[in-house]
């Protein structure tokens, strides 16, 4: 790949256009909500803990995972349903979710992510005192 500095403005534009969308797989997810938060499960077969990058800030959640697939060196691809080794998907978070307190785990290629709701949105039990 040529260094972008050497390219003319026109070349740069077409190059950027070509490279902008990155080849990746959109992983299948389940998302459900309960009283105290939201849970996301994503299928990321081939992704290890080291290859997984989850970013959560106030407004967005993004999942970026690289699959490590062991392949013999001289292998010739014959057939493929899966044609990328990267998974990417992003979501916007509502302000009632507390992204800072998100917890994630990964097992057998399944990511489980839990984001709690902010305290003021959590259901509160009101105690009734005896009079």
């Amino acid at each position: 790949m040529t260094d972008s500095k050497e390219l003319s403005k026109h070349d740069l534009q077409t190059r950027q256009h070509r490279e902008l969308p990155q080849r990746s797989i959109r992983p299948a997810v389940d998302i459900f909500e309960d009283e105290s938060g939201i849970t996301l499960k994503a299928d990321l077969p081939g992704v290890t803990r080291e290859g997984l990058d989850i970013q959560v800030d106030k407004e967005t959640l993004s999942i970026d995972g690289k699959a490590e697939i062991e392949m013999p060196e001289a292998m010739q691809a014959v057939y493929a349903d899966v044609r990328a080794t990267r998974y990417q998907r992003s979501f916007s978070l509502s302000s009632e979710l507390e992204g800072d307190k998100a917890e994630a785990s990964l097992k057998d290629g399944v990511l489980s992510l839990r984001i709690p709701k902010r305290e003021q949105y959590q259901p509160r039990k009101i105690e009734i005192r005896n009079s």
Partner: protein, 147 residues
């Protein structure tokens, strides 16, 4: 139900627009070819198949499986993989997204004719089942020396 659907559209957990990226995925081809039996691409689990002169490598992209419940057989050169993935879903919970595969599956793959069904190794790592099926010696390319 309406408020829920509405709330989901207006962004409790909205997904970014990714049309551009997905279009690119549909049309670009990389290392893996996409022409053969591409109609089967909806099948679960997705499969990749590659060959070398020594062996055939089959990859099943199936996260969260119990590998002991898989039934893998090779008859002649036809590989059959049967299994199921049961997700623990609470039916009382309301789901924003429910995309992950839940249920039984059966996939058949035609392997090259020279595979040796007695020499198969299977491993399940990080949600990928990797099968290595050795090929018979006779099918390896042979160097022919000109006298």
């Amino acid at each position: 139900m309406l408020p829920r659907i509405h709330g989901f559209d207006s962004g409790l957990f909205n997904e970014f627009r990714r049309l551009e990226r997905e279009m690119d995925q549909l049309f670009s081809a990389g290392f893996w070819p996409g022409t053969m039996r591409s109609a089967a691409s909806d099948s679960y689990p997705p499969i990749n198949l590659g060959v070398t002169p020594d062996q055939v490598d089959v990859y099943l992209f199936a996260a969260g499986l119990d590998p002991e419940k898989l039934d893998i057989t090779i008859k002649e050169n036809r590989l059959s993989i049967q299994g199921e993935r049961r997700l623990e879903r609470d039916e009382a919970t309301s789901y924003f997204r429910k995309e992950r595969y839940d249920g039984a599956f059966h996939r058949l793959v035609n392997l090259p004719e020279d595979v040796d069904a007695d020499r198969v190794e299977a491993r399940y790592d990080n949600g990928v089942l990797h099968l290595v099926v050795k090929r018979r010696e006779s099918s390896k390319p042979r160097q022919i020396t000109v006298q």
